[in-house]
Subunit: 216 residues, 2 copies
DNA sequence: TAGATTGTTAATCGATTAACAATC
DNA sequence: TAGATTGTTAATCGATTAACAATC
């Protein structure tokens, strides 16, 4: 009966993971919550509370071992589960995702790329040949991927998602402007570039308002 | 002395904006906080509280006028400020951004694309010819963009950001794996595709744990 | 007017921070 | 042992939800 960990905590885990990776890369072996909190601009309390949702990874008087903590977070995030993912939609977004995550992401392997446009069939993206979308069903029956990256036009998104669910997909990373809703069976992360841009616009206009305000 | 609006509220505004845009597109003229809350899977209270951070946009007994509310949120977000943006880095991510936001985003115009790779000079991306990065200083002096989209390799990110700040950029949308920190002068939104993927991995592994748990 | 629904205050809930005993 | 720093409990703060008077 492990109580559910709050979304706020989960949302911070990838950031911890990134900072710990960087510390590891530059050869730092141990770090205290205090030092990490200063680097990351959060409180040391928050770091300790967040981690203690999942167990004690540190040692009194010592702090945290960077490599061990990073690997622990990796397990919490399920990056060691060997998830298999397919990419549907080989447009700009799909290609960017395939190429970028090849270098940066752990925790899953991209095993196939699909597109319904015959002109894209056979095209090479980061070592994968684009397959026709009509083959996705048989491919899934054989290879059993759990995740799908959806980079299709928004008009096609819902239909494609439903089909993939019926073939066994359990998690979607959705790049379409239209949101996909999670369900009991299916996990969803929606990525909206335009939301980020709007937030930036707000922050910029807020700064301008403040400058005007302080002048007046 | 307008009290600062919390980040939670700001983060939700683009989502309201998207839903209102869709309602407008399908011809719906008015909506109550209750009906909107059901569509968006939030509480009606939250919608009313969020909006009332900025003023009263509705009418008792009627609800909200979709078009008016959408335009009001657009103004809150600064989408009517006519911000000008440049894109630095014409790799996969940069091209995707340039093409995608051309269709989806309002609130700023992309006025120039730069890359330091001579092979990319003159390349056409969504109607823009890629310019050499060496020309960014004079271009900025002439055109005065406020925003920059950073889609450069992480090794170059900090140097490029500092240069652009010195030329007058006030806001960054940063796609690099490495975070850029905001300052008093400069607004920043960091976009991390790999974070989204890790969150999805967590959600998927959580679901699998729950299934095992309920079986045992 | 009666019904609907907002704007807004009050109550609840949860997340963050502070504090400190435990312990390496 | 003394010093450092965690794990964890308690206190604070802020965000969400509920309730309802105002009003269209």
């Amino acid at each position: 009966m492990n109580k559910k960990v709050s979304a706020s905590v989960i949302n911070r885990l990838p950031r911890y993971y990134r900072y710990l990776s960087e510390l590891e890369n530059i050869g730092i072996e141990r770090i205290s919550s205090r030092d990490l909190s200063e680097k990351m601009n959060v409180t040391a309390s928050q770091i300790r509370q967040d981690l203690n949702c999942f167990g004690g990874f540190g040692q009194q008087g010592y702090g945290y071992n960077v490599k061990y903590l990073k690997e622990s977070i990796s397990k919490i995030l399920g990056l060691d589960c060997g998830y298999k993912a397919i990419l549907v939609g080989a447009g700009n977004m799909g290609r960017t995702f395939a190429v970028n995550t090849k270098f940066e992401s752990r925790g899953f392997s991209l095993i196939g790329i699909f597109d319904s446009d015959p002109a894209k069939e056979g095209m090479d993206i980061g070592g994968h040949k684009v397959m026709p979308y009509s083959k996705v069903k048989s491919f899934m029956a054989e290879n059993k991927p759990q995740m799908a990256i959806l980079a299709v036009p928004k008009s096609a998104m819902r239909r494609v998602a439903e089909e993939l669910i019926s073939y066994g997909i359990k998690a979607f990373l959705n790049f379409s402007y239209t949101e996909l809703s999670p369900s009991a069976d299916v996990a969803v992360e929606n990525v909206h570039l335009s939301d980020s841009l709007m937030r930036l616009s707000y922050k910029l206009s807020e700064k301008e308002r403040n400058i005007e305000g302080s002048e007046g």
